[in-house]
């Protein structure tokens, strides 16, 4: 009864004369093979069964002693303790509540090689700045391929290189963990041997229901506080909605186009209630000429609503009213971002903005050299923009998460009162989207 465990590109191979659970026998190599994330269960099974084993699974980078001083708030402290019980699971904290510190305390206490996976390059920079108190931090992304005792990677890079990263770390931290269950990203968790796993997010739920996979991939929810429970740590804010009518000309075109789309739905007996229904229509465009035409009309109608002239007038008024405040303008359409940027001479950030320029814009915004910035969805998650106290949403999809995250952006404790303006065209589908959004927020 003896087994030798070794790591092979995202899986664990068990050589020996013993039956191994959690996987299957691989004819191609003549021994058992198990997905890497079963490592912890497998070792537990071998120990319980009294089977001797030898392992050559991990190949970790050398780890120094993580020594750093920082203070935790009481709810952060509590989150760490709850997680420590099984050293697995998801911590749910509202945006702005300092999720990073929860991770930092865990990293300090465990003092093992750690991989942190984040959605964007911006977030890499941000984590990098915070974690640098532990010493030199590695970056594993499209820009750099370093592996250090503490390494930060994006979901994309970690997915592409899952086989390589899988046996280098004992602790893996997933920031904005609701991204993880998607079909490709979940591989990152499955191909990793890391016995200790932490997920961080403001909202665990996904529209497609895939959050049910999280217990398997990182562990279930171990701690949650709501916005209200810790509101004393967060800035107060008010929401103001401004309804803007389309111009006569815009309205004429809009009505005509959206009627085309509605007629198509009626004809096919379809309803548009979720993203899934929408996807169905997109699927049909391949073989259904009318679906193609209907979708085209819908896109054009939306463009009219988002780009409406009157909205730009309202934006102008707001900019004039808040001459002293720090303002972030959001819109979903890149075209509109650049239009606003050109018109008002405001720095723009979209997915097309390259990394160095983006960094500089954010730095200048932080320092107050720029007072206003305009951006599309790139900033949706977690980019630290301290002290912004005015948010203006020019557009957006109806997803609750996006809205909460966007609110969170200006909910930084800054002493100032925060205002969120939402500029919506009246009597258009955008209004419905907006209503759907607020309803979700209320139910939180």
């Amino acid at each position: 009864m003896f087994v030798k465990l070794s790591y092979d590109r995202g899986t664990i191979i068990a050589k020996g004369d013993v039956h191994i659970p959690f996987g299957s026998f691989d004819e191609r190599v003549g021994c058992y093979r198990v997905l890497a994330y079963k490592y912890r269960d497998l070792v537990e099974y071998l120990n319980l069964s009294g089977i001797e084993y030898e392992e050559e699974v991990f190949d970790p980078p050398p780890t120094p002693f993580f020594d750093a001083e920082f203070e935790l708030r009481d709810y952060q402290e509590e989150a760490v303790q709850k997680w420590m019980v099984d050293r697995r699971g998801v911590v749910v904290l509202p945006t702005g509540a300092g999720k990073t510190y929860v991770a930092m305390e865990i990293i300090r206490e465990l003092n093992v090689p750690t991989l942190i996976v984040v959605p964007t390059l911006d977030l890499i920079d941000q984590w990098m700045a915070k974690l640098s108190i532990f010493g030199e931090i590695g970056e594993f992304s499209g820009r750099k391929k370093e592996i250090k005792a503490i390494t930060i990677s994006t979901y994309d890079s970690a997915y592409i290189n899952a086989e390589t990263l899988g046996n280098k770390f004992l602790l893996i931290v997933f920031d904005e963990v609701h991204h993880l269950p998607s079909e490709s990203y979940r591989v990152i968790a499955e191909m990793s041997c890391a016995p200790y796993r932490l997920g961080l997010t403001a909202t665990m739920e996904r529209e497609d229901g895939l959050h049910s996979l999280l217990p398997k991939l990182v562990g279930g929810k171990v701690y949650e506080v709501t916005h209200d429970q810790i509101s004393e740590h967060l800035a107060p804010f008010t929401i103001k909605r401004i309804k803007v009518p389309l111009s006569e000309k815009e309205k004429g075109a809009y009505d005509q186009l959206s009627k085309k789309f509605r007629d198509y739905l009626k004809k096919k007996g379809m309803k548009l209630t979720s993203m899934d229904d929408f996807r169905k229509i997109v699927m049909r465009t391949g073989f259904d000429k009318q679906a193609y035409e209907a979708l085209k009309s819908w896109e054009e109608a939306r463009k009219i609503a988002y780009n409406s002239k009157n909205k730009l007038k309202v934006l102008k008024n707001l900019l004039q009213r808040h001459r002293k405040d720090k303002i972030i303008i959001f819109t979903r359409y890149n075209d509109l971002v650049y239009r606003i940027s050109r018109l008002f001479l405001i720095p723009a950030i979209t997915y097309k903005t390259d990394q160095s320029e983006r960094k500089e814009i954010l730095r200048n915004f932080r320092r107050g050299i720029y007072r206003v910035i305009v951006s599309s969805q790139v900033l949706d998650e977690g980019v630290d923009v301290p002290d912004a106290n005015i948010g203006i949403i020019m557009s957006g999809s109806g997803s609750a998460r996006e809205y909460i995250q966007r609110l969170g952006r200006i909910l930084r404790p800054s002493g100032k009162k925060a205002i969120l303006y939402e500029i919506v065209s009246s009597e258009t589908s955008e209004e419905r989207v907006s209503r759907r959004r607020r309803r979700k927020l209320k139910n939180k």
């Binding site: 092979d8 590109r9 995202g10 899986t11 996987g23 299957s24 691989d26 004819e27 191609r28 093979r33 198990v34 997905l35 899952a162 086989e163 079909e183 490709s184 591989v187 499955e190 191909m191 465009t285 391949g286 259904d288 000429k289 009318q290 679906a291 193609y292 035409e293 102008k316 900019l319 004039q320 650049y338 940027s341 050109r342 018109l343 008002f344 001479l345 405001i346 720095p347 097309k352 320029e357 050299i369 720029y370 007072r371 206003v372």
Partner: protein, 451 residues
């Protein structure tokens, strides 16, 4: 490879058929190219808008994919001599502006600073954006575009594959070094190679789809090839099959005909020159050795007679060990041309040793003898001396290689092959078998006991 949303396939009864393009699409391909070409000197944005106008519900996936491929083959230049980043920085440092006159003032000021007119500032503000760059020439013809599209479409289809089976006639080394480099695993099933990844037996995963797709150019570069794939679509598995005989035109990336070593190249050209009657194939189809692929350097064939050549040049100790084992087990007529220290470890029948230079003359001599005129036959009436590489059995001279071949066939249960060959029954008899006919076409072989 194309973005997922341009994937254009039909699904019928569990099968998936990529909608490849043929010359029917020539005019549309030409049209798309001409729109870009006509806009030489204009912004990319303008060409893109014009392309959008020729789209309809029938062809939009194709047109968007064509456009994307054409854009990869375009030279661009900047619309301005200024550095847009510097222009923006200066403009934004003076913003935000909320009235037309404020804006006018800032633009004027910045124009003065850069020593240009106001129009140039407006032009260069976002002059580094992709869609604002100027088209400076298009380098693709319609036929190439169609072929590139087909290759991309096949690759995109395979992005969702969970397993691939393929066979190729030549180009094996390229394909197999690709398999290794891409971290895939292979199993040899008869003529076919089945490809999966390490985790494939544990979950149905598309994780290896990209690797399959990247291997495609090497496979379709072969003269003859077949690909079967299992494609995962949500939770259903579809099958896809395509081969070089299906008449689809694929773009062949120019792979340099690089040899593992200059030695092989030299030998190849000499062989070609000296014997025009021989069919010489480089990296011929693989020989399965206990589940592993063994790809000799050459196969030389004339009629029924063939021999493989493997050059054992500068190999590492470890590689030699693996390779020697493969050679021993390969069970094919094989000439090994080996450096002395390797030759010592070999038990093969045909070995030519060398020290530093490849012994071309010795090899050519061997080949000439091997394919000597008498050498073409499996069996001859016994007359006079027994020729080299033959043995006498009753009234016949039987080729030793043919006997070996028959042995192998019997072991692998391919008896029909032997019986069909000239001299097959004699060889079987020599090996101690006899053919029993159970009907007009059914037969079996029976071992004859020496009582």
């Amino acid at each position: 490879m194309l973005p997922k949303e341009y994937l254009d396939v039909r699904k019928i009864k569990g099968k998936i058929y990529p909608r490849f393009v043929d010359f029917e699409w020539f005019d549309i391909a030409k049209k798309v190219i001409s729109i870009y070409a006509k806009n030489t000197g204009n912004k990319l944005k303008k060409a893109r808008n014009e392309v959008k106008k020729i789209e309809d519900s029938e062809n939009y996936k194709k047109i968007r994919a064509f456009a994307r491929i054409v854009e990869r083959e375009i030279d661009f230049k900047s619309p301005t001599t200024l550095n847009p980043l510097e222009v923006r920085k200066l403009l934004f440092s003076k913003g935000p502006v909320t009235t037309a006159s404020e804006r006018e003032k800032v633009i004027e000021e910045v124009a003065r600073r850069f020593g240009v007119d106001k129009r140039e500032i407006e032009l260069s503000m976002f002059g580094d954006m992709e869609e604002d760059s100027i088209i400076d020439g298009v380098k693709v013809d319609p036929e190439t575009l169609l072929m590139k599209y087909n290759l991309s479409l096949l690759q995109t289809t395979l992005m969702n594959a969970i397993a691939v089976r393929f066979r190729v006639e030549d180009n094996h080394k390229k394909v197999f070094s690709g398999i290794k480099r891409l971290g895939l695993m292979y199993e040899i099933e008869d003529e076919f190679v089945r490809l999966t990844g390490p985790a494939s037996i544990l979950k149905q995963t598309k994780k290896y789809g990209t690797a399959f797709a990247k291997l495609i150019p090497a496979i379709v570069n072969s003269r003859l090839w077949v690909i079967h794939a299992e494609i995962l679509d949500y939770d259903r598995i579809y099958r896809m099959s395509i081969s070089s005989e299906d008449g689809v035109m694929f773009y062949r990336e120019k792979l340099s005909m690089d040899f593992d070593s200059s030695l092989e190249e030299e030998l190849y050209s000499r062989l070609i020159c000296s014997r025009r009657d021989l069919e010489i194939v480089r990296e011929p189809s693989l020989v399965s050795v206990g589940g592993f692929a063994f790809i000799p350097d050459f196969r030389i064939r004339r009629g029924d007679r063939e021999i493989y050549i493997e050059i054992a040049g500068f190999w590492t100790e470890d590689y030699v060990k693996k390779k020697v084992e493969k050679i021993e087990r390969a069970n094919i007529p094989l000439l090994v041309v080996a450096r002395e220290e390797i030759a010592e470890k070999l038990k093969s029948r045909h070995v030519i040793r060398f020290k530093n230079k490849l012994p071309y003359l010795k090899i050519l001599k061997f080949i000439n003898e091997y394919f000597a005129d008498s050498g073409g036959k499996n069996i001859m009436k016994a007359e006079g001396e027994v020729p080299e590489k033959y043995l006498r059995y009753k009234d016949w001279f039987v080729s030793i290689d043919f006997i070996e071949y028959c042995k192998k066939c019997i072991e692998e249960g391919r008896v029909e092959e032997v019986v069909e060959k000239e001299g097959g029954s004699i060889a079987l008899e020599y090996l101690g078998y006899k053919v029993v006919w159970d009907g007009l076409s059914d037969f079996r072989i029976v071992r004859v006991h020496d009582d």
